[in-house]
Symmetry: C2
């Protein structure tokens, strides 16, 4: 299934190993890194390049929550046409192997790891999805494993 | 240790069971729920109250990433005075037991679960921290278990 296949997927259409690739790309600008951080994560390494050089990040880096939010935007906009929308019940893993730098352009790839019909709610189920966010050098900047609520097709 | 104790904590100062409570509070407005969603998570249940009523959320709800970002703001601003800042290496768990609704006021509580000096980098270590975000009814709206990088005191 590619990003161009816009038919909505129900739980019944999904199986482990399915991958969603060919996502759109979003550029993360220095100004938005700083303004996002000013509102939500006002620490020197997200606000000021000079101050960031003396930190673990060795230069301005986007807040991980900014990277997570941009990843969500890429999923919602283009890449993963789930019936019912993209509704995360929670994550088993979320990490940022490399910082996102000013001017980086991000894209995502997803793989279905598990598909589980709900026992108590026959109209829906859960999938476990690994989502990897890459920068323009094809380096992973975020890896998550999340559980998403997906409706079943009406019988 | 309370939120009023502003001395910076190094790895050496932390131990399992320590709790950080008494956080500041932040109100999440309907307009910011919608504008955050328009940029990062443009789905009907985060954008429009009418449309949201027909969904799993049964009314307008903040994006989980918005809740996560507000939680980060509460941690950074007031509650958890770590030397070196709050630097998440990744999360073992992140979930949203209840939606955040327009006008909800959030606060956080943290508990240190583990403290681990680094073997390869003697100047730092990792702590595992559970952070719970509560609404004004003391209901948890986000629970995370994250691993944070924390510097050690110079010997």
């Amino acid at each position: 299934m590619s990003a161009n296949d816009r038919a909505l997927s129900y739980l019944d259409d999904l199986e482990p190993g399915q991958r969603f690739v060919g996502s759109a790309r979003l550029r993360v600008d220095e100004e938005r890194i700083k303004s996002f951080a000013a509102e939500f994560d006002p620490q020197p390494f997200h606000l000021d390049d000079e101050a960031a050089r003396a930190t673990l990040f060795r230069g301005l880096a986007a807040s991980g929550w900014h990277t997570a939010a941009v990843t969500m935007r890429l999923l919602v906009s283009h890449d993963f046409p789930l019936a019912g929308g993209i509704i995360g019940a929670g994550f088993d893993e979320l990490r940022w192997p490399l910082p996102v730098r000013p001017g980086d352009t991000l894209r995502v790839e997803c793989e279905v790891l598990e598909v589980r019909p709900s026992k108590s709610r026959p109209e829906q189920g859960l999938i476990k999805l690994r989502t990897t966010t890459f920068n323009q050098h094809d380096q992973p900047v975020q890896i998550s494993v999340g559980n998403l609520v997906v409706p079943r097709r009406a019988p």
